[in-house]
């Protein structure tokens, strides 16, 4: 379990645990005889057997050569399983780059047109830092929040001891009774989107609580998209 630093609506803070909610597949894939299979990457088209190489070897009209001799197939290499690899960059001329490349950040508008190029800014994770995640003033009924945001990820908060149980249970109870979700913000002012790792994807996060007797569920629903239509779609 991972940790995050959270304050309640009174501003009291604590470090609590969380787990990601994941879907467990209902099936697994097997061979026709019921045996196990593994999903692997393999060499399908080795270097030197593509269109350009065939043109060099047999000329533009190499169809007959394909029928007669299978020159596009190298049986020594095709099908070879690929294990671990290292990422490399190739220059525009296809040569391996031996020095770190310069990285630029390109901004692309919803119309698909490039708007800007700039130096990338390093954005640090903000869920387990000095400034605790805080409740904002934005509170929405459950019924409203599902109509405004798309939640592609949810994490569930858990306590680590008796004190954090009281802390999280009280938060869940208050939200459940109000039937509300509260927007949680990060950073010094408690307004920033949540970023779980350095340069990670930023999320808007709504905290939802449920209680059943002494048990509770405290869920942080994460969204990167509003439920609305593009401007050119009616």
């Amino acid at each position: 379990m991972r940790e995050l630093h959270l304050a309640n609506k009174e501003g009291r803070d604590s470090t609590v645990l969380y787990v990601s909610m994941t879907h467990k597949p209902t099936h697994r894939t097997v061979a026709p005889d019921g045996g196990d299979v593994t999903f692997r990457r393999y060499l399908a088209n080795p270097d030197g057997f593509d269109h350009d190489a065939l043109v060099d070897a047999h000329g533009e009209d190499y169809a007959e050569a394909l029928v007669e001799g299978d020159p596009e197939v190298d049986i020594e290499q095709i099908g070879r399983l690929i294990g671990s690899t290292d990422d490399v960059f190739l220059t525009s001329e296809g040569k391996v780059l031996h020095a770190p490349p310069r990285i630029v950040e390109i901004l692309i508008g919803p119309d698909g047109v490039e708007k800007e190029r700039r130096n990338p800014v390093n954005e640090e994770g903000n869920v387990l830092v000095e400034h605790a995640l805080r409740h904002t003033k934005m509170r929405l009924k459950r019924d409203k929040v599902v109509r405004r945001f798309v939640f592609g990820r949810t994490i569930q908060l858990r306590h680590s001891d008796g004190l954090t149980y009281d802390f999280l249970f009280a938060m869940a109870k208050e939200l459940d009774e109000a039937d509300e979700c509260v927007l949680i913000g990060g950073g010094k002012k408690g307004r920033d989107a949540l970023r779980f790792q350095n340069n990670g994807k930023p999320y808007r996060a709504f905290l939802e609580g449920r209680v059943d007797g002494p048990r509770y569920q405290l869920l942080l629903h994460l969204s990167e998209m509003e439920l609305k239509r593009p401007e050119d779609v009616t």
């Binding site: 097997v30 045996g35 299979v37 399983l81 990285i103 949810t154 008796g162 998209m225 609305k228």
Partner: protein, 200 residues
């Protein structure tokens, strides 16, 4: 053009045309690009650990292999459940009426949304229209392409029109209270105000 999404609710059918919605259609997106010394875009490639192959786009493929290392064509693959029983493939639900039931906002909050669709009504039954206009949500099964793991879909109306959110439910577990220490009984006869300091 894809077949419509057909919903059967209260015994009547409604159908909707649909288009996928993603954040690229709504917002400015960022992409990082590596440049070489001349300022030209670099391409990513993968070098095998033995240094034998420099793998570029289009040179590799992926597939299933059995225990003996033989390739198994996708068409020959089967699916089994956790008990080893054979599982049947679910056909696509597009163009086929799917039974919808009322659901709650809390049900929808338990969905890990994978794909969002904007809906355009083709024919909407008055009963379903009334539910959606009144803030109701309905749930139905959704299989875009035939597969073994059908998605769950929620249909709802917003100020921006009708949407269908599809994904897999991820219902959370209840978190039990922490074990607490027993409270000491104040009426315990053995408990008095005399503290034993002889032990020090």
């Amino acid at each position: 053009m894809a077949k419509p999404i057909v919903v059967q609710f209260g015994g009547a059918e409604s159908s909707f045309d649909f288009a996928k919605l993603d954040r690229k259609k709504l917002y400015t997106t960022r992409r990082r690009q590596a440049l070489d010394a001349e300022g030209k875009p670099c391409r990513r490639a993968a070098l095998t650990r033995d240094g034998r192959y420099l793998l570029q786009a289009g040179m590799t493929a992926q597939g299933y292999f059995d225990a003996a290392g033989a390739w198994v064509p996708n068409k020959a693959l089967k699916a089994v459940d956790v008990d080893g029983n054979s599982v049947q493939k679910h056909p696509s639900t597009l163009g086929v009426a799917q039974e919808a039931v009322l659901a709650t906002a809390r049900d929808l909050l338990d969905l890990k949304v994978a794909v969002t669709y904007m809906l355009e009504p083709l024919e909407v039954d008055a009963g379903l229209r009334e539910v959606l206009d009144g803030g109701g949500i309905v749930r139905l099964p959704m299989v875009y392409r035939a597969g073994y793991d059908p998605a769950t879909a929620y249909l709802l109306g917003t100020d921006n029109g009708l949407f269908l959110l599809t994904g897999n439910p991820t219902p959370p577990e209840w978190v039990e209270p922490a074990a607490t220490l027993a409270v000491i009984d104040e009426d315990d006869d053995d408990d008095d105000d005399d503290l034993d300091f002889d032990m020090f």
